[in-house]
Structures are given as structure tokens and as C-alpha cells.
């Protein structure tokens, strides 16, 4: 069964910390995505990558960066965590028929 694995289910971080969210896929997909999910706002695209070392900004990239050094791994970085970044973060990889999502990381910034 194909999988997208996010390294942490729950994280609590302090304001100003640098936070790394890791995502690994085993499907050899070229395209990977980071979304955040907030009630009433749905899924909003933060960044995506269509190849190793390639990245593009999504709709809400401010305060975030990404890294893709290997095809299977796509990392989301919060440079200096703030309370308004408290959210559910979802990683996905895509094929022609749709996304496969990870289970999500619920991040709380205090």
C-alpha cells in the first residue's frame, strides 16, 4: 500500500523556535505538497515541489520555507514559529489520479 509518512502526529513548540516538519513518500512521485488545514478555511497550499531541489510558493508561503534534497523527502520549515502558525499540517504527493495525504501533524505554538 502506498504511503505518505509524516514524522510527528503532535508537536508543541515555543514562539520563535525553528520547526521542522518531515514528510516521506514511497511512491516515487515527483510532485509533493504542504498544506495547512484550519476550520472554515479548508486546505491552503503553502509550498510545493515538482522535482528534487525545485520548489514553488503556494498561496500562503509567508513564514515558511521548504527543502527537498531527495525525491522521497519533503520538509517544511517554520523559520521562527508564531502562534498564528498553530494548525494541522498535511503533506501530500500526487499522481495523475489525485493526492495521497499523510496523517497530518498537529502543531501548537505557545
Amino acid at each position: 500500500d502506498v504511503k505518505v509518512t509524516q514524522s510527528s502526529r503532535y508537536l508543541v513548540k515555543r514562539t520563535g523556535e525553528k520547526v521542522f516538519l518531515e514528510c516521506v513518500q514511497d511512491m516515487d512521485h515527483e510532485n509533493m505538497f504542504w498544506y495547512r488545514q484550519d476550520p472554515g478555511l479548508g486546505l491552503r497550499l503553502i509550498y510545493f515541489s515538482y522535482d528534487v531541489k525545485m520548489k514553488e510558493k503556494g498561496d500562503i508561503p509567508e513564514g515558511y520555507s521548504v527543502s527537498r534534497e531527495k525525491k522521497e523527502r519533503f520538509s517544511l520549515i517554520l523559520e521562527s514559529a508564531s502562534t498564528n502558525q498553530t494548525s494541522m499540517y498535511l503533506c501530500a504527493s500526487s499522481s495523475p489520479t489525485g493526492y495521497t495525504f499523510g496523517s497530518g501533524t498537529r502543531l501548537t505554538v505557545v
Binding site: 472554515g40 479548508g42 500526487s94 493526492y99 496523517s103
Partner: protein, 113 residues
């Protein structure tokens, strides 16, 4: 602007009833329209999808109806069951070659036993 508008935000249906969730889009540069189902504590999972050259697609109790001229599509869940209680997202794939999707804001469905 690329947007997908989804309604209602929440929906309560009796067991055995029909659940209907609607989505509308404005941009015509979409070529594929999936629906995702998300249970609490899980990531969304692909439920059913349709291409714009088809007006209806049915898989079991789930049906997508697509109206290209009105730029609307909807999900119908027939004989709704308590196990269908979840959040549903419609989505539209952007014509860009990168398989990027725009999502609706989600509908929280509760099916009463």
C-alpha cells in the same frame, strides 16, 4: 482567481437519507475534479473523481454530478450511514502539469443513527 466554493459548511442527515454537497468554480483552467473524505485524526483520502467531459460518475453509494456550463459539481451520498460521518472536500486540478489542486473549504457531515 482560482477558487472552489463549497457548501454547506456542515450537514446533518438521518441514516438512510441522501447527503448532497455542492461545489462551484470560476476558473475554467481545471481538468479534473476529485472529492476527498477525511475522518478525524486522518489525512484526506480520495473518494471519487470525475473529468469534465462526463456529466455523472457513480461508485457504490457515491455519485458525482457535473454541470460544465454552470461550473458546478456535487457529491451525492445515497443511503447515508453513520460511518459516512466525516469531512468532505471537493477539489479541482489546475492545468499546469504539476498536479496542483485547489480545495473547497470542506463540509462536515454527520449522519444520525
Amino acid at each position: 482567481q482560482q477558487q472552489v466554493k463549497q457548501s454547506p459548511q456542515s450537514l446533518i442527515v438521518q441514516k438512510g437519507g441522501i447527503s448532497i454537497i455542492n461545489c462551484a468554480y470560476e476558473n475554467t483552467a481545471f481538468d479534473y475534479f476529485p472529492w476527498y473524505q477525511q475522518f478525524p485524526g486522518k489525512g484526506p483520502a480520495l473518494l471519487i473523481a470525475i473529468r469534465p467531459d462526463v456529466s455523472e460518475k457513480k461508485e457504490g453509494r457515491f455519485t458525482i454530478s457535473f454541470n460544465k456550463s454552470a461550473k458546478q459539481f456535487s457529491l451525492h451520498i445515497m443511503d447515508s450511514q453513520p460511518g459516512d460521518s466525516a469531512t468532505y472536500f471537493c477539489a479541482a486540478r489546475v492545468l499546469s502539469g504539476t498536479y496542483k489542486y485547489i480545495f473547497g473549504t470542506g463540509t462536515r457531515l454527520k449522519v444520525l443513527a
